[in-house]
Subunit: 421 residues, 3 copies
């Protein structure tokens, strides 16, 4: 399991790669993830029909620049892959600065930052550049070159499965289509890797499926190829923006009252956080929660989608994410999954009057513990509300007791034959 | 469609007529309304059983006064029809002031105003007079005369129908039984006339039925005669007190969550207003919402029933109502009906993952519009929540978007084959 | 029906008896209650299986003391029965103070008070003593004697039934197992006695069953012996801590929305009070509300269970409870049961439009009453909401009218043939 520092190192290692929704940048990323996790890598050919979409041509890029008359690169892909609009078609022309301007994207409000832009489905080309750099360009002719290819190939995504006691699944999904952006979503990838490693060390109840996929088209491709199995996905989290220094935000599933929604609210209760209702924009929860699937999948971020100035700019670099923030995101997910794992509905097998706990040693066994009072109350609450309708989380929230105390009580009562699942 | 000024002129023209729950005052009123709207006038004979009630005898009055010994009229029906208690039986007597006092109604708190009183179902007679006038009457004998008739005849009401695409109906109901009271309910009649004219210029989805009926017994008569068709009434508004300078009050239907209740809350949101829960007193929503019918009919007023000092007094005169207030009431109803007309439930025909809007031109077509972002969000919301359960109004409120944006998005998606009703 | 002063006198008379969950103290208590109420006393033999429990051996005690070397009793059961741990096994030994200390229970925070302790199901013995007294004991040997017996016998409880028009029952349950503690629960017993007397003077609708039983094992025994009839218990209150000077607390049944929960909230509305959600600890509501039975039984106390420093100490003596507080508890229960008795669901037999009340004399009959307006509104509310779903209490709360006005209106409407149950 990666430490905060190791997660940060992984972010730094992945940072220079030029990812997009297809192409070698994704493959290289998955190869590095694969050094940490056994990864099943899928290649889905261009032209494959996936739900309402078609897998596009594969895009690869080797070099790109704008050079002045002297040949000096004034905008250089080698300095940052953000300089090229994603999916730019090849170009090799000379044009005046005036002509070039129509192809340049800047952020006038943050003149030293380079924006991130793409154009996946309308063939075009362009460059992204700091406003300051643009302002300093003298008039004149410029040589514009993008050495890219758009060709039949495939879309690439990776899966890692941590098998559980049951085939019911929890999915954790990360997008892997953004180039040099650290928080969005290299931090998410790093936290997912560490989380998967940690779960593999346990024997979890649920099967956990980690998905490393390009945004939108990747999730749509996965859903299309797994449509007949998708009902085994009982819970899930889309993980993104996992490393900035803001507090955590959980965005509910479209259902709003899915188990994962309840669990996340419970574990976030004691730290600064925000809960948002579902909205049909953001990350791949859009696809998992589309009304035909309507899965119990929410989204965990720190500062959410488009909520920070550095979002989709060159300022979202490795310095923008911190080891501590990634550890906090990881801890929160671990705690949430620990609740999810134990959050069952039980039935009290002795529901007429209170069962006599003393004769079963359920008082004695607790007598010497400092938390005996809490443990005893937890048993009474579990007995009182285990009617097959209330989950342990329901009971914990109703009782105002820690989930762990309630789950431990349930376990003791089950061992004593007073409770069954 | 009447302007504010024209509505006010209609109030002034109707004001002098002596209306009651039956009689020629109602017929004259309907005749004037009929100059603006094609009106079907119904006459229902005295003695007709209507639900739990019986159509009463018809009341007509030609003259009434209290005259002093010199023959001077100290209280004169010709000055104001409010001076006679509605449904007063004929009388022609001379009596002392002391004897007369028991027949006189005043408003001691507003000594210059004449109150409005009726006694429909217990035969009696009486006069209403300003406290100031009463106080100035010298002792002595007075000649009391009411030249009225109570005789078999009929109850009169009018209907105007604006046909729609569907036979499902929206009713707009006004009481026409009050004599010289402007806000209660000549302003309501004037707003209803203008609204009906405006709807007739459109081809509405729903059929709109405007009812001009005496309060209580009129609504009961209409319900009795239309009991077998009443289930086509899907929505409705009882319109009263439509012209005073107070802000709008919407009283919910007994259901509390009828479509009209939701729609009125939505359109009132952005102006000063009050929403009240249903109560079984007020105007004819009492009858439409009686538990056997329980229609989705609320009531729109400005200052509500009994909520202003001028209520049921001579101070509720044409000066008490304003053209601007009537226009505001009219606008609000128009806006509400525009929402009601478009507020459907749709089903997303491509519910598995997001449909690719770009390939259908649903992005391009918006590119040049300044509200493109809102329009695009609206499409995502409509797709996400169009599961046959959420109405467009539900979606607009959930999304925090204007209803119009959501309805326009639904239309575009329907044209694109992504949505069906 | 006992006055406040008579209830207090009953508390004082019962106070010296040494009650426990079995034994002669309970029998003597029931004998005194039986002087006020016809009481059916049940004896259930040791060893009887009752639900998950077994009726224990019967405990009786004649004397107990700790005496110093001179024979002076330094702790004396004859001074207060609280001095002996309930269910103490017999002992007759001489031991050092050091050895003795392990058998002594004190309240260091309240050094002049004697705590109340029991050990029903683990055989042991002990004494309870004021910290001040303990501190004053010199080193030395002490003669320790408890002249008790634990032997096969029986568990004793009493029932008093006030027959009603229907066999549906309301239970009022008091625990009778506490020795010299006044508020917990002699005040509850006294209030129950007075309440039963008062109900017997009426001919109530429901059958009222008063239960005077040892806590936990008594309720479990009663439930075991009445399991097949328990579904006739429609409502109930566990009554305890009924006499302290604090305000009233109502603890809801496990259902949370049982009729009794609604009624108690309604009658407490106008006085200082607290409503608590159900929790699976407290008094015998724990048993009545165990999930297998899940009865509509709440608990009424003044300051609740464990909520006052005097709780389970010698300071809970007759001076701690007041006649006025017991009268207030009694009044509240009487008011609540009066609501419960009349809280039916009716059906409007003339639900299409408003029925004409005038022709049935329902206006006239009210004309001379000062509360005519309220009575008339109440009739309209009852007619409007009597659809078989809304109870009179629902209607009273919705209308903001006193329950009595609504119940009276319902009665008038029923007599007029407009309403049926």
């Amino acid at each position: 399991m990666l430490t905060g520092g190791e997660m940060h190192a992984l972010v730094e290692r992945l940072y220079p790669l030029c990812r997009s929704i297809t192409g070698d940048g994704v493959r290289q990323t998955l190869a590095i993830v694969g050094e940490h996790l056994g990864l099943q890598v899928h290649e889905v050919p261009t032209g494959t029909q996936v739900l309402d979409w078609t897998v596009p041509q594969e895009w690869n890029i080797r070099d790109a620049f704008v050079a002045d008359a002297s040949g000096r690169r004034v905008i250089d892909f080698r300095a940052s892959n953000l300089h090229v609009v994603g999916y730019s078609v090849p170009v090799d022309e000379t044009m005046s600065l005036a002509e070039l301007r129509g192809r340049l994207h800047t952020l006038p409000e943050s003149p030293s930052w380079v924006p991130y832009r793409t154009s996946y489905y309308s063939p075009t080309w362009g460059f992204c550049v700091a406003q300051d750099v643009l302002d300093a360009l003298p008039e004149g002719d410029y040589h514009v070159k993008i050495d890219s290819t758009l060709a039949d190939g495939s879309l690439t995504y990776g899966e890692h499965v941590v098998p559980g006691e049951v085939s019911d699944e929890v999915i954790v999904s990360c997008h892997v289509c953004h180039p040099s952006l650290a928080n969005d979503n290299l931090a998410g990838i790093a936290v997912a890797v560490s989380l998967a490693q940690q779960l593999a060390e346990e024997k979890p109840h649920f099967t956990y499926r980690f998905l490393f996929m390009p945004g939108t088209i990747g999730a749509i491709t996965w859903l299309a190829r797994n449509a007949e199995h998708v009902d085994r996905v009982k819970h899930g989290v889309v993980l993104a923006c996992a490393g900035d220094r803001g507090s955590l935000t959980y965005k509910q599933s479209r259902r709003g009252d899915a188990d994962i929604d309840r669990v996340m609210a419970h574990v976030l209760k004691d730290k600064p956080h925000e809960i948002r209702e579902f909205s049909p924009y953001g990350y791949d929860e859009r696809q998992f929660c589309s009304p035909g699937f309507n899965l119990g999948v929410g989204s965990l971020t720190r500062t959410p989608y488009a909520g920070y100035p550095e979002y989709h700019t060159s300022a979202d670099n490795p310095a923008f994410v911190s080891p501590e923030a990634m550890e906090d995101t990881l801890d929160t997910l671990q705690t949430a999954f620990a609740v999810l794992e134990r959050n069952r509905r039980y039935v009290n097998l002795s529901p007429y009057g209170e069962p006599q706990l003393g004769k079963r040693g359920l008082y004695d066994s607790l007598g010497g513990r400092s938390d005996a009072k809490e443990a005893q109350l937890a048993m009474l609450w579990v007995l009182s509300y285990s009617d097959g309708e209330h989950s342990l989380l329901d009971i914990a929230e109703r009782a105002g007791l820690p989930f762990g105390a309630v789950a431990t009580a349930a376990q003791a009562l089950q061992v004593a034959g007073l409770l069954k699942e």
